[in-house]
Structure formats: C-alpha cells, structure tokens
Subunit: 243 residues, 2 copies
DNA sequence: AAGTGGTCTAGACCACGAC
DNA sequence: TCGTGGTCTAGACCACTTC
C-alpha cells in the first residue's frame, strides 16, 4: 500500500503533478528526513505511469538535493542541509538605469601593460601576460555610486585592447561580449581608505560594501573586479530553495 | 552537414559526452549567441542516438540558461545574461566550529508572545500570531562574532515553544529540525548603532556586514533572522556558473 | 498547414552495492 | 546474488508557433 497521504493536486504536466505531490509529502513532514520513498516500481503503480516518468521526477528531486538515491537500497528523503541560494548581480550600469536614475561614468586610470606580481595573483594568471587595468567611478544622478577596480586578461579577451574604457564601463562591455563559464564572488563589509572615501564623497567612517568577482572561461581567467559601494547605495538580494 | 567543430570528448555517460560537446561549442564561441543549434532530429543523426537522449541534454542546457528553445523555430544559443550564483550560508555555530575556534553563545533576551505590528511585517505574518523573539550573541574564542535578532513563527514551528533558546542558538536548532522550501537573503553594509558596537566590542565607526534572511515552508513563514558581523569577521562567498 | 519542441510509453540492458 | 537505480531506445501523440 502507499504511504501517500495528500491528494494528488492538479498541475501542468504529469511529472510536474507527481513532483508536487512528492515534494508536498516531504515538506509537510509526512515523509520525514531519512524516510525511504517507495521504489520506482511502486511509484509506477501508485501514479499509474511509466518508469521513465517517475525516474525523471526523482532525478530532478535528487539534483535539487531534496532526496538521496542509493543503488539497491532505495531513495530516501535527504537530511536538512545548509542553504544554497540563487544570487543575481547585474552590472552596475543596468542597475542604475533600471532604478530610473541617470547613469554617468568616469575612468580615473586606464592602462594596458604586463601584469605585476600582485595583479597576477588577483587574476590568478600563470604568466605575466598583458592585461588592462581600469580604475573608475560609477555615478547615479551625478552622485558617486560605486568605485571599481578592474583587471581584464588580454590573452582571453583580445578585443579589450581596442575598446575605449574611458568611455565605456568594462563590466557592461564584458557582460555583453564575453561568454563565461564559471566565477566566484566575495562579499564583505569594509571601512574605506581615506582616498576611497574622498572619491565616493562620503565620510571617512562611512561603512562600505565590497564585492569581488572572478570570472573564467573554462580554465582561462577573464576578469577580476572589486566594487566598493557606500552603505545604503547597494545591497545583495538572493532568493533560495533547497538546492 | 554538421556545424560541429570540436571532436567528441570521452566522458561518463552518453548524454554527458553530448552535453560537454555542445557546451564546448558554445563556450568556445564556435556557436555564438543567437546561433541556431541543429534540430533534435539532426542531433540524433550527428550523435547517433535516440531523440530522448538529445532532448534530455537540451532540456538540461535550457534549464541552466545556456540555450533557449522555441517551438517551431528551433533551439538557440542564449544571449549572455547576468550572473546567477550559488551561495552557501551555513549557520554561525557550524561556521565557527569549522574554523577550529571555540564557540560560545549568550542570549540577551528570549520572549514568547504575540507579534507586534513591526514583527508581523518582518516575519510577513498575516495575523498577530504567537512568536519567539531572541536577541543573542555568538562568540568565537570568547570574542564577539555576530549579533543576532531572530523571530520564529510558533504557528509553523510549535516545537520552538518548548526549546530553551537561552542555551541553544536558534539558527542551528532550526536548521536541524525544520524542513524549509524557500527563503531569501539581503546582504548589506551598515554603520553600527552605539549599543550594537558596544555589544560587539568594536569601535563605533567599525563597518559591519548585515545578513537578513526569511525562510518559508510553502506559504508559511518560519523565521526571520538579522545577523550583524563586524568587518573582517565574516564574508559571503559564492561560486557560480551561468545558471 | 507543417514542423518544432514537450511529453510520455513500454520495453531493454547494465553497473553498482547491499545482502 | 539479485534488486535497485542509471541509462538508453524507438516509437507515439500533442501543443504550440511560426510560416
């Protein structure tokens, strides 16, 4: 007999309905962590469908971490785990324009040269290849919004050599031009240095949010960015599901 | 004829090999954004497999946002989009213990009562139902690490009524007891209030990182947490792929 | 109208791992 | 050993959407 307690809800497709039903049993606590879910064989009979269909549902749930599957043993409700969140960080220009403010951009320094030891480390380069270095300031309605320090690896992005980053913000340009496969973020609070505070036109004790980001294409580093936002100008929002 | 330029690499399963091959064509730029990928029908012949197999591969790639599928029109390489990151935020106790520090916990205030208007808003409650309010401090090696303000909805988590949060940190307890289905984060920099700085034993102008988090089970609010970390004590790290 | 992707079926063989 | 999940096939019907 089935351990199914909740009625099968209406839904879009068959596997969507089955998925909702199983998720309901797990999230409601009817099937607690560690509970052995009926075998695919049994689920076929319970839901009256083929094995491919229940298999697809269970594979999806396993990818999302809601269940764990072990050969010969069966499928089990996963133990509660840490959060995994989906975090969106659009580029700054789009962020400002999207809020209905006027966007302006000023580049303090643009250089093209071989990477120093420190820059090699930040970009995680193996060799001292050529890079573009950009210091710039983003502003919303003429008010400083973010200070950006950007390194671009010319070995991966040769087109950057012919781009005028005194006119165009590097983040927006890269997002629109370059396919990337992987990256990471680091987000932390920071007391600004005196020159940083001056450039951002804030008090020297005004807290800042810093976002550092690496981007790769395969094993090739594309870019490193450090963006400094005065507190209150920017926040990171993330919505998450157990994934 | 096929637009496939790269050789088919060896891999685990058939659909994993096909997926790697298609991903390679996209990430290398052989198939640029907007490029129309061969129809499923053609991919069957190219890879010599059944339609279900190429369909599974393309569905996965579409879920990850690498391609877009349109009926009657075909499947296209997606335009570059914003970042979507996987972000892990474990509970504070596990974070401190995992770094090899001694964890200690002190609750300043624990109350059980009906929610005020403000608390209703924070927890996104419809009614003024009963909640648990906890003010507490987490410390690593006796040094203040994070200040936490926590609301728990007793309608969703009745077990919280019988739990002694003067002894046990609410975050760790909830993570180990409660199945959750959805949540969100807000991360920002913050200049601490005087009493916050005093409790954290930091200077009044020391920047802080604040993380606010809602958690739901279905449409039922479970908990709200606001955690304040002195700059340097904690940072958020996120690794991401185009998803 | 025609062809695409979306979904589902009823089989099959295999590898792994608990017994 | 033998049942489980993992994978794959060769079909089928349908909905949608562009032509």
């Amino acid at each position: 007999m089935s351990a199914v307690s909740q009625p099968i809800s209406t839904g879009d497709t068959l596997h969507a309905r089955i998925r909702q039903h199983i998720e309901g049993n797990i999230l409601s606590g009817t099937w607690p962590p560690g509970f052995r879910i009926p075998f695919e064989h049994e689920l076929m009979e319970i839901y009256g469908c083929s094995r491919m269909t229940v298999s697809k549902v269970l594979s999806t749930l396993a990818e999302n971490g809601l269940i764990e599957r072990r050969r010969r043993a069966g499928t089990f409700v996963a133990m509660p785990r840490f959060h995994a969140a989906v975090l969106k960080i659009p580029d700054i220009k789009a962020e400002i324009v999207g809020r209905g403010f006027e966007y302006s951009y000023r580049a303090h320094k643009v250089q093209t040269r071989k990477a120093s030891k420190e820059e090699q480390g930040l970009l995680q380069l193996k060799n001292a290849s050529e890079i573009v270095i950009v210091h710039c300031l983003h502003a919303a309605n003429q008010k400083p919004f973010a200070l950006e320090y950007r390194l671009i690896n010319l070995a991966t992005v040769p087109e950057a050599r012919d781009t005028d980053f005194t006119q165009e913000p590097p983040g927006s340009w890269l997002l629109s031009k370059i396919a990337w496969s992987e990256g990471d973020h680091r987000i932390y609070a920071h007391n600004p240095a005196i020159d940083e505070a001056d450039e951002l036109a804030i008090a020297h004790d005004n807290a800042c949010l810093v976002i550092e980001r690496h981007t790769w294409r395969g094993s090739e580093p594309i870019t490193f960015a450090r963006q400094i936002f005065p507190a209150g100008m920017f926040e990171v929002n993330a919505r998450f599901t157990p994934a």
